[in-house]
């Protein structure tokens, strides 16, 4: 029998890997992929609790999380293309126009 903690720990591990990816990589494409990974970790949590409680609301909210992830990916990749056509780079360190 797989207990709930297994799923929660898996979710923690995937979320933390996503955080490390966001904080340490320089390529914006891989940063966006890490954000998708973090959203997936949240979905594991929602669905694990939903399945444990036999309450489907967790799965409904997981659908909404997937919607938000899709919207975020579309806008994020649009930003990548705009960034590349303006500055010819995918390195987030070189995007420092609003940095002081």
């Amino acid at each position: 029998m797989v207990s709930l903690e297994h799923y929660l720990i898996l979710s923690v591990v995937l979320f933390t890997i996503g955080v490390i990816g966001v904080l340490s990589r320089r390529n914006i494409l891989i940063i966006l992929m890490s954000i998708e990974l973090m959203m997936n970790a949240v979905n594991i949590n929602l669905i694990a609790f939903s399945s444990q409680l036999q309450d489907v609301i967790g799965q409904v909210f997981a659908v909404f999380v997937i919607v938000v992830a899709a919207a975020e990916a579309a806008v994020g990749l649009g930003i990548v293309i705009a960034m590349f056509s303006n500055k010819e780079t995918v390195n987030v360190g070189e995007i420092d126009l609003m940095k002081w």
Binding site: E5, H6, L14, T16, R26, M33
Partner: protein
């Protein structure tokens, strides 16, 4: 027992390919490892008896978002990235943050594990069929959030089109050099 073995197989594949995802130099390889992670998370969803979400995961994430990622990777020439440093200078801070985060969350899970014991008699699904159940609750109780989500998707479509449109030189959206 079989459930546990299946869970460990999927979890191991998910974690290993997630680690490979954030360490590969080539973004295409990262996208492939993201696909492996997403598919094994779909397997975890199946083992949680969330069949609808497993299908949505495969169709939307692997079939939609990931293809979009690969498309943009192909569109943006990344040859220069292959010879640059992969990580920025805050790698140590990132690792410390991640260690604090994982310690905190694991502590919370271990401390709160007694609260995760749920009554046994609630373990029968109320409606036959997972998709039917999700659809009923989604359209009966959460119709307004559903409509708001569709507006969010519309805004995202328009935003993506506007952002990736080539700005004409001299036009009102032209970026000053």
């Amino acid at each position: 027992m079989l459930q546990l073995v299946i869970f460990y197989i999927f979890a191991t594949i998910a974690v290993v390919s997630a680690i490979l995802l954030i360490t590969r130099r080539n973004a295409v390889h990262s996208a492939m490892f993201l696909a492996a992670t997403l598919l094994s998370v779909a397997g975890v969803f199946l083992s949680l008896r969330a069949e609808f979400l497993a299908g949505v995961q495969v169709i939307v994430y692997v079939g939609g978002i990931l293809v979009l990622f690969v498309f943009v990777i192909m569109l943006v020439p990344t040859d220069r990235v292959m010879f640059e440093r992969r990580y920025n200078r805050q790698g140590r801070i990132a690792l410390i943050t991640a260690a604090v985060l994982v310690g905190e969350l694991v502590y919370a899970v271990i401390q709160g594990r007694d609260a995760f014991v749920f009554p046994e008699e609630a373990l029968e699904p109320a409606v036959e069929g997972n998709s039917q159940w999700v659809g009923t609750v989604l359209y009966q109780n959460y119709l307004l959030p559903f409509e708001i989500a569709s507006i969010l998707l519309l805004v995202a479509i328009i935003g993506a089109v506007v952002l990736s449109k080539k700005s004409k030189p001299g036009g009102e959206n032209a970026v000053e050099e």
